[in-house]
């Protein structure tokens, strides 16, 4: 039996600022920059890294496809790989639900381990992404390349929103206020949004 409708995976590591989600199916993850709604009460997690690795760190992955013609053939020939590998999402916690509305910022408590992760509904994603606090949180995070994540997130949210241009404009303004003294950086981000 497959995972419940639309569920991505479960929280396997959690803190106030970050969480890791293990996907139920290998390679079936949302893209970089997508938002997930995690746990109950829900918190919003921005996917900042997608990785696939060995489930058991003591059993490193070895090469198996020397004689295979395609990658698919490797997996067909080694059906145990689905059980030995897993796809993980590293997430930055960017918001939570307050008085029934999504707000950007850290939640009072992190999600529980094994909390379920769902794709974030488009309207909630839109509310978060266009908030000035969202841009500030991302820019001030210790992500190795926050600009890449921001671009990915905004492009995705822009595609999913009913008024994508309006969303990008509001989010762009919020970024501009934060990066008003770093015009080249702002310029580089905005150029990739159009």
């Amino acid at each position: 039996m497959g995972p419940a409708q639309g569920r991505i995976g479960e929280v396997v590591e959690a803190s106030s600022r970050r969480c890791a989600v293990q996907c139920y199916r290998l390679y079936e993850s949302p893209p970089l920059g997508a938002l997930a709604r995690v746990g109950d009460p829900p918190v919003y997690a921005l996917i900042t890294e997608v990785s696939t690795e060995a489930l058991d760190p003591g059993r490193p992955v070895i090469a198996r496809g020397e004689d295979a013609a395609t990658v698919e053939e490797v997996y067909r020939s080694n059906p145990q790989l689905d059980k030995l590998l897993c796809t993980r999402l590293r997430c930055l916690i960017v918001g939570h639900l307050r008085d029934g509305a999504p707000v950007a910022g850290l939640p009072p408590l992190p999600p529980k381990i094994h909390s379920f992760a769902h794709p974030c509904p488009a309207d909630e994603a839109e509310a978060l992404v266009s908030s000035p606090d969202f841009a500030r949180l991302l820019l001030n995070s210790d992500l190795p390349s926050p600009d890449e994540v921001i671009v990915a997130c905004l492009r995705l949210a822009g595609r999913q929103a009913a008024d994508g241009q309006g969303l990008l404009h509001r989010a762009g303004n919020a970024l501009a206020r934060e990066l008003s003294d770093q015009v080249p950086r702002l310029n580089a981000i905005l150029r990739r949004l159009t």
Binding site: G172, N173, A176, Q182, V183, P184, N187, L193
Partner: protein, 549 residues
């Protein structure tokens, strides 16, 4: 009347500033700097009061000092829209000038601003109503002089305040000083708060004047206000040729000229100090009222030399004086003895509330004639005013009616070398002590004595190029650094900066029309006044005829 009316378009918010420098207003992202001109009025809603101020500078700013080195990609409209407003912004320098009371009543009027609005106070473009609250509506004491640069509201001068002190009309040649002066005189005439005596150098005020830009004739004060204006002339032939309805021919007797008049003519007659001072020796020798006729009656150079030796004056200086003063004999209005007393006639008119225009005819181009006559008549009129004012103070007789004396080329009478000696300098310094003030018209205000300039109550200034003229005009004005910038950017035509006693704050105006469309009717039959002056209009005649039928 409450001032809590609808505010004008919001422009931005106060971000910093001081009372001496004015406040900086950061424009809202949607407001383009190009929509706002220097000199525009704004209101700032502070925490406790509403401020009224003027935009004194418009600037561009950015939050990143490296913007000029690495500008954003504004060819992309999305980027351009986001960057402008957040990274780049427009800013205004605003000089808060007045604070508005919460409720306007008889005692509640806008007051000079003595503080600044708090941080983040919202700034709005001044509405028509704000302008009315500040500058008033045209009525029995206020005269509509023009409109602010970007709106149709009226800017009105308080005419009673205007005539209390001297007025200066400045501007380089061709900027409309004459039109402006005509308007100011109309304002005084309409309100009947003073009489005026206009030394009309170029025959532009009494009868028709020329609008050289539009190549047409415009009506003078006599045409517009008929019996309220009397035209005197030094040159009847010229008046007749121009179709001017002259009321009196002015003659000046040699006996009326005093040595002080010669002192004033030093520059135009190119006389040395010694030569000019010799007039006093001549007066001592021949007697008061007789010296000039006797001196000009000397037959030849030999007689002049003999006289010089007799009275102990340098012969060359006296010969020069004789030679130069002999020019006076060529003026047809100069007579050994005048047939009538011009000063008496002028005073009669002034007492009746009639405004007197003295046309110079062909002598307008002769600066010596202008200076001589203006000084001579003014001195005698002023003497009478002093006597009558003092008598009134002593309880005998009424004080004379306030008088405004209007002179062109004012620096010739009021330059630092002679201002202390001329009657015009005295009048400017006396303020309204004797009910006489000046309206000085000049294109070189820097050549006027600074002490005189400091006594001018209201200045109406058209475009000026010369730095010294700008400095002289703004000397003593509050916020002159900011006003300087406003003044230097005035259009060369039909714009003026007005500041001083007759207006609550400095204002740049588009001067109202004089001579186009129904402008004359607006002047002779202002809406606030029943009846009006001058001949009835065609429409009024039609109505009268219909009534007779």
């Amino acid at each position: 009347m409450s001032v809590d009316g609808p505010l004008g378009e919001p422009l931005g918010m106060v971000v910093e500033g001081s009372l001496s420098r004015g406040v900086e207003v950061r424009l809202n992202p949607g407001v383009s700097v190009e929509e706002i001109q220097e000199g525009v009025y704004v209101t700032i809603k502070g925490e406790r009061r509403l401020f009224f101020g003027m935009v004194t500078d418009v600037s561009l700013g950015s939050s990143d000092p490296r913007l000029a080195q690495s500008p954003p990609d504004v060819s992309d409209p999305f980027i351009a829209r986001i960057v402008s407003g957040a990274v780049t912004y427009g800013a205004l320098s605003v000089m808060p000038m007045l604070t508005m009371p919460p409720v306007l009543g008889d005692e509640e009027k806008p007051q000079p601003a003595k503080t600044v609005p708090a941080h983040f106070s919202i700034t709005h473009r001044a509405s028509q109503r704000d302008m009315e609250v500040v500058f008033g509506k045209e009525d029995s004491s206020r005269f509509y002089i023009g409109n602010p640069l970007d709106m149709e509201a009226q800017v009105c001068l308080n005419v009673e305040e205007l005539v209390k002190r001297s007025t200066g009309v400045f501007g380089k040649s061709g900027t409309g000083k004459t039109f402006l002066t005509r308007l100011l005189l109309v304002g005084i005439l309409q309100r009947d708060v003073a009489s005026s005596l206009i030394f009309d150098m170029h025959n532009e005020y009494g009868w028709a004047g020329q609008d050289t830009d539009r190549n047409r004739q415009v009506q003078g004060l006599k045409q517009l206000f008929q019996s309220k204006v009397s035209v005197f002339s030094l040159d009847p032939e010229s008046s007749i040729r121009r179709g001017s309805k002259m009321d009196f021919e002015v003659q000046v007797g040699y006996d009326e000229v005093e040595p002080a008049d010669v002192e004033l003519l030093r520059q135009t007659l190119n006389l040395s100090e010694v030569a000019a001072a010799a007039a006093y020796d001549l007066e001592r020798k021949f007697g008061r009222k007789k010296w000039l006729q006797a001196f000009l009656g000397l037959a030849g150079r030999q007689e002049v030399y003999e006289l010089a030796n007799e009275i102990g004056v340098n012969t060359a200086a006296l010969a020069t004086l004789h030679n130069r003063l002999s020019q006076l004999k060529r003026y047809a209005f100069m007579k050994p003895r005048a047939l009538d007393d011009s000063v008496k006639r002028i005073l009669e008119r002034l007492d009746q509330g009639v405004h007197v225009v003295l046309e110079f005819g062909r002598y307008g181009s002769n600066l010596s004639a202008y200076i001589l006559v203006a000084n001579l008549l003014t001195r005698r009129i002023h003497q009478r005013y002093v006597q009558r004012t003092e008598a009134a103070e002593g309880g005998s007789g009424a004080a004379p009616r306030p008088l405004v004396i209007c002179i062109e080329e004012a620096h010739r009478f009021l330059n630092p070398n002679i201002a202390s000696q001329t009657i015009f300098g005295d009048i400017a310094r006396e303020l309204r002590k004797y009910n006489v003030t000046l309206m000085v018209i000049d294109q070189r205000p820097s050549a006027i004595d600074s002490e005189v300039m400091s006594q001018i109550g209201t200045k109406v200034t058209c475009s000026l190029d010369d730095e010294r003229d700008v400095d002289a005009t703004l000397s003593g004005a509050q916020g002159r650094r900011e006003l300087r910038s406003v003044l230097q950017k005035l259009d060369p035509k039909q714009q003026a900066l007005v500041f001083g006693h007759a207006v609550p704050l400095p204002v740049v105006v588009r001067i109202r029309e004089y001579g186009a469309g129904g402008s004359f009717q607006d002047l002779t039959r202002p809406k606030w006044q029943e009846g009006g002056y001058g001949p009835p209009t065609d429409e009024e005649l039609d109505e009268q005829l219909k009534a007779l039928d």
